[in-house]
Symmetry: C2
Subunit: 609 residues, 2 copies
C-alpha cells in the first residue's frame, strides 16, 4: 500500500479527461503538486493511504475551472460605470480612473481581491491582462486597434523568445473589424498574421467577428480562443460564432473578462451562458450541451491557454488543481443519475459558484469548507472600499463640470484663446470677395468648407457650451477633400466689448475631436442639443502688419442669410484695443462699416429664430 | 412615538417605488402585514419604535422579487433531461414522467421544495402554472396550441367570474405561431382575443414571437407579460422583443419559467439575463439598464400580475414583502456611490441569490440569517431524492427498449399484426396492371403514392427497427393530395416461412406518427439511419373470397427496379397456411409465379447493395 500526500475519497468524481470518465463512488490520490491516481473508490483506497485523508461526503470532485480571459485587478472598478457603450465606458470612465489610480499597489490589491473571488468560485487557473504584470510569464498586447504594428511585431518576438503565450483581444466588435478593413484592407486575423503574431502561442480573446477563413487561420496557427459570453452580451459586442469555432477544431476556452464589464468573476455564470447563448443563436437547443460547456471551462480551456499538458482534467501526472462542489443544496435538488449527462447539467444549469466548498491548486489547499486559507478576505474588502471611496470622490469632482469631464478624457489639451471679433450681416458676398483683392489687403491663405456644428447645452448655464464641429474642406469644384472634427468648450460670458460691437471672447478648450459625436453626447449627457450648418469662405489676410481671419458665411441651417466675421487673436488688453481699432478700419475697407452688427454667435441667433 | 411591529433600521433602502427613492441610511416600519413607513433612518427612528427592531447592519433593504412565471412543482424534474428540443423534452420526458408520477402529493412536495429555493433567493411573490392547483386563486390554460377554443373561452369566463388573473403561455415558439397562422389564418394574440381571453386579466408568458400590432392589443387589453430569458435561451425559443414591449407601454415582469427548463428558480440570474440579452439583441449596451431590470423584477412585475396595488415596492400601505441583501461579499466588493445607478448595477450585474439573508412576506419572517423558518429543508431534500430515485428507475427501465420508449410517448397504440407476404422481382409493370383486370380478381380499391421511409437501427439488434413512413397520396395527374406519416416498430425476426419464400411477418407496433422525423430521431437516438423511396401502386383485391394487397413498387432510392408484393393479414397458423397457398395461386394468375423472390425487405436490400 503506497502512501500519498492527500487521498480524497467518497466523492462523485468527474475527471473531465479525454474519455470523460466519471466515478459515482470515486477517489483521487495526490502526491506533491500532482495528481497521482484517479479511479473508483474501492480500487484507489485499496492501493493508497493518505497522509491527509479527505472524506468528500458525496460532493462532486472535479478539476478546477480555467478562466481563459480576464483583467483581474479591475475588481477595483467593478460596478463603477454600467449600461454604457464600450467607447464611453472605456475612454470616459475606465481609462481616466486608470490614469489617476493604477499603480503596482492598486494592481496587487485588485489581484488579491480577484483571487479571493476566483478561489471562492472554483477557479484554479486564469489568464490575465492588465498593467504592471511584469512578473506574470505571458505577453499581452491589448488589441490591434490600440497597438502599432511595431508593438505587435515586438510582442510576438518576445513571446517566442521566452516561449510563453501571447494574450490579445481580437475582433471583439464589428467596429474594430470595419476600421481594420478600411485602414488595412483586410480583417483582423490576416492583419495580425501579417505582423507575425500568429507565430507565437496566441490566446485570442473574444473573436466575436471572425469568418470561417480566419478560424482556419487560427486553427493552423495553433491559437486558442477565449470566449466571454457575459461581456459580449453586456457590452453588446455581438454573438461569437462559438459552435463554428469548435467545429473548425479550435480549442475554445471560457473567460469572465474583467469584473468591470461583467461585473464579477463567476465562471458558473459563464458556463451557463456559453450553453444558453449557443442554443439561442443557432436556434437549436441541442447545441453546445452541458458536457461540452464544462469541457471548455476545464480541459479545453487549458489547451486554449497552451497549458493542456499541465492542467485541465483529473489525470495522473497533471497538476492537482481540483475542487469540491456541494450539489446537495435546495436549488440543485433532486439529482438524477439515469445518464452521464445529468451531472454535467446539474453543474452547468443549476450549479452556483457558492456551491464550491474546497479548492486545491498545485496540491495545496486554498479553501477548505468555504474558508480561504491564503488570503485575508476582510482586510482586502476593507482596502478595496477605501479605493472605491477615493475613486468616487475623483469622479464626483470631475463630473461637477463639463470642462473637467472634457479634460478627463485625456489626449486633448486645454488652451486659452482670446479673440477680438466682430460679425456683421451683409447681402452681397461678391462685393466682399472683390474688396479682398484691394492692395492694402494681402491674402495669405484661402479656404472653403462646409461647417457642421452641434452645440450641447447643460442644465447649469455656468457650464458653458460644448461645440462639436466637422469642417468639410471643399476644392474648387465643391468636392469634399478632407473632414476635420473639432471640439470646443465655449465659456458662457463675453469678456469685454469695444466700440461698434467688437467683442473680446475666450475659448477655454480647443481640441481635435478624436471620438464620434455620439460618444460625446453619451459621455456629457447634455440637457439639449442644437445644430448649425454653414458654407464658409475663409481668408487669412494681413492688414496693416496684422493678421486677421475674414469669414464669409452663408448660413444653411437655419437659413439666416449672409454674414461677414472678422477675427484676430490677441494676448493683452492693450493689444486687444489696438486690434479693435484695426478691425473697424478693415470693415471700412471691405465696405461694410455701416452694416448691422450681430453680437450673438450663430447658435444663439438660430435659437432666437 | 408610535409603536410598530417591526422596525428595520441601519439599511441601504431601495424602495423601487414610482420615484425610485433610495435612502443611503434608511429605515422601514411594518405594522401587521403592511409597510407602514419608509424613509431616512433619522426620521423613521424618531417617529417609530418597533416591538421587534432589526439592525440591518448596512445591508440592502428592498422589495422581494416577483417571479412572474414558473411551474414550481417541476423542481422534482430539475435536470432530468437537458439539451433537447422543446418537443422531445416535453413529449419525450416531461409528459411521460408526469403521466406516471404527478399526484397532489407530488405537486405539494415539489412546491415546498421550490418555495424553499424561492425564499432563499429573495422571491416573495410568484405566478405558478401546473396540475392540481385548485387551491391557487388564478386560472391557467397551458397554451393556445394545447387547449381547444372551448377551453380558452371557458377559462376566460371563470377568470372573469372570480375576478382573478388568467395565466397562459403565448407565442413562445415560432413553430407555434406558424401553426396558428396556417390553421387559423392569424397570429396568436388575435386568436386568443377572438376566444374572449383578453377580456380577463391576462398574464401572458413568453410572448417571444409577437408583432407590434399584437403588443398594442395586449396593451389595450391591460394584459401583463412575463419574460423568461433563461428558458427562452436554453430551449432556443428566440429573443423576446422586450424593449419594444416596454416602449409600447406593456407591464413586463420577469420569470424563471419552470426549474426543469432553466434549471433553477434564481431570479438574480434572470435579472442579469434580462439586461444582458436586451443589450445584445439591440446591439446597444445602453438598452435596458440595471434600474429597469430591477423594476421589472419588482414593481412592474407586480403590475404584470395585476397585483400592483398589493405588492412590488416599499410603499406605505402595500404588503410587507421585503428582503435584506448582503452586498458586502468579495464578489460584490467594492461598492461605488457616485450615482444612484451604482446600487442597481451591483444587484443586477454582481449580485447572487445567495446574497439574500432575510426574507419577509406579508409581514412575517420566512428567513432570518439564511435560516428558513417555515420549511424543513433537509426533509424536503430527502423526500425529493426519493422521488428522483423512482423517476430514474422508471426512465431507465423504459429506455431499455425501443418499444417501451415508443409506448411511453403515449397517444399511440401497440398493435400486433401478422401478415402472409411474398415479394418478387419483375420487369413489366404494365403486364401486372393488365393481369389485375382479369375476371377472377375483383379490385376493391386502388391507390397510388410516393412512399418515403426512414429506418432507425440500434446498437442492440434485438431492439428491432423503427420505420418512419410518409405516404404522399397522388391523384391521376401525379399531384400530392395528402401526406400520411406513420411509425412502425418492426420485429427483428421472421416468424415463419412457407413454400416459395412466402413469409409470415409480425409488426409489433403501428401508429400514426404525430411528431416529426426529427423528433423521433432525437428521442430514439438510433445508431444508424437509412432511407428508402418508392413509387407504389396498391390494389386491394378480392381473390377466391380472400382480401389481398397487391403492391407494384418502383424503387427510386435506391434505384433497385420493379417489385410486386402480395400481402394478406392473418390471425392463426391454419389461416396463414391457407393464405400462403392462395398467394401462390395469385402469383400464377398475375403471371409471375416463376419470378425471383426476395426475402429481405427493401431496407435490407438497399443495405446489401
Amino acid at each position: 500500500m503506497k502512501t500519498v500526500d492527500v487521498l480524497l475519497k467518497n466523492a462523485r468524481v468527474l475527471t473531465m479527461d479525454e474519455q470523460m470518465n466519471q466515478y459515482e463512488a470515486g477517489a483521487v490520490a495526490v502526491v506533491g503538486d500532482r495528481i497521482f491516481a484517479v479511479g473508483p473508490e474501492s480500487e484507489i483506497t485499496q492501493e493508497y493511504a493518505g497522509i491527509e485523508t479527505i472524506d468528500a461526503r458525496g460532493k462532486l470532485l472535479m478539476p478546477g475551472l480555467v478562466n481563459a480571459h480576464t483583467h483581474v485587478p479591475m475588481t477595483l472598478m467593478r460596478g463603477l460605470a454600467d449600461d454604457l457603450r464600450l467607447d464611453v465606458w472605456l475612454l470616459g470612465y475606465m481609462m481616466p480612473v486608470e490614469r489617476e489610480f493604477v499603480s503596482p499597489e492598486f494592481v496587487r490589491l485588485g489581484t488579491l481581491l480577484g483571487c479571493a473571488e476566483l478561489i471562492r468560485s472554483g477557479v484554479t487557473c486564469f489568464n490575465d491582462m492588465y498593467y504592471f504584470e511584469e512578473v506574470v510569464p505571458a505577453v499581452a498586447a491589448h488589441a490591434p486597434y490600440t497597438c502599432t504594428a511595431e508593438i505587435l511585431q515586438e510582442t510576438a518576438r518576445v513571446a517566442m523568445e521566452f516561449d510563453v503565450p501571447l494574450h490579445i483581444h481580437l475582433a471583439e466588435t464589428s467596429y474594430e473589424v470595419e476600421n481594420m478593413r478600411r485602414e488595412n484592407g483586410f480583417p483582423v486575423v490576416p492583419y495580425v498574421k501579417k505582423q507575425g503574431l500568429l507565430e507565437a502561442k496566441v490566446i485570442a480573446a473574444h473573436c466575436v467577428h471572425i469568418d470561417t477563413g480566419e478560424m482556419r487561420t487560427l486553427l493552423h496557427a495553433g491559437a486558442g480562443v477565449a470566449h466571454n459570453p457575459s461581456s459580449n452580451l453586456k457590452l453588446a459586442s455581438g454573438f461569437a460564432p462559438v459552435m463554428k469555432m469548435l467545429e473548425t477544431g479550435i480549442q475554445v476556452g471560457i473567460g469572465t473578462d474583467g469584473p468591470a464589464s461583467n461585473n464579477d468573476l463567476d465562471m458558473f455564470e459563464e458556463l451557463r451562458l456559453t450553453a444558453f447563448v449557443a442554443k439561442a443563436v443557432s436556434n437549436e437547443p441541442t447545441s453546445l450541451p452541458a458536457s461540452l460547456a464544462l469541457t471548455m471551462a476545464t480541459r479545453m480551456g487549458a489547451h486554449a491557454l497552451h497549458l493542456g499538458k499541465i492542467t485541465g482534467s483529473l489525470t495522473p501526472g497533471l497538476r492537482a488543481d481540483l475542487i469540491l462542489v456541494d450539489i446537495s443544496g435546495v436549488h440543485n435538488s433532486p439529482s438524477f443519475t439515469r445518464s452521464r449527462d445529468n451531472l454535467y447539467a446539474q453543474i452547468v444549469y443549476a450549479g452556483k459558484s457558492t456551491d464550491v466548498s474546497d479548492v486545491m491548486v498545485n496540491g495545496k489547499w486554498l479553501m477548505r469548507d468555504r474558508q480561504l486559507l491564503s488570503l485575508d478576505e476582510d482586510a482586502l474588502i476593507r482596502q478595496a472600499a477605501e479605493i472605491a471611496r477615493r475613486v468616487d470622490s475623483f469622479l464626483i469632482e470631475r463630473e461637477q463640470s463639463v470642462l473637467s469631464k472634457l479634460v478627463a478624457l485625456g489626449g486633448s489639451m486645454e488652451q486659452e484663446s482670446f479673440e477680438v471679433q466682430v460679425k456683421v450681416k451683409v447681402t452681397d458676398a461678391h462685393a466682399i470677395r472683390e474688396a479682398l483683392t484691394r492692395p492694402e489687403i494681402e491674402v495669405v491663405r484661402y479656404r472653403h468648407y462646409d461647417q457642421h456644428d452641434s452645440y450641447f447645452t447643460f442644465e447649469d448655464p455656468l457650464q458653458g457650451r460644448l461645440r462639436y464641429r466637422e469642417d468639410d474642406f471643399l476644392d474648387e469644384t465643391g468636392n469634399v477633400t478632407m473632414t476635420r472634427p473639432r471640439l470646443t468648450h465655449l465659456g458662457q460670458q463675453r469678456e469685454d466689448a469695444f466700440a461698434h460691437n467688437i467683442l473680446l471672447s475666450r475659448s477655454r478648450f480647443l481640441a481635435a475631436a478624436t471620438q464620434s459625436l455620439r460618444f460625446y453626447r453619451e459621455y456629457f449627457r447634455p440637457k439639449a442639443e442644437g445644430t448649425v450648418e454653414k458654407d464658409r469662405e475663409r481668408w487669412l489676410v494681413r492688414f496693416k502688419d496684422t493678421e486677421f481671419f475674414v469669414n464669409v458665411d452663408r448660413m444653411i441651417e437655419p437659413s439666416l442669410g449672409l454674414f461677414v466675421e472678422i477675427k484676430s487673436r490677441t494676448w493683452s488688453r492693450k493689444d486687444a484695443e489696438h486690434k479693435a481699432i484695426l478691425t473697424n478700419e478693415l470693415l471700412a475697407v471691405l465696405g461694410i462699416a455701416n452694416s448691422e452688427t450681430v453680437t450673438e454667435d450663430y447658435f444663439e441667433v438660430a435659437k432666437a429664430k
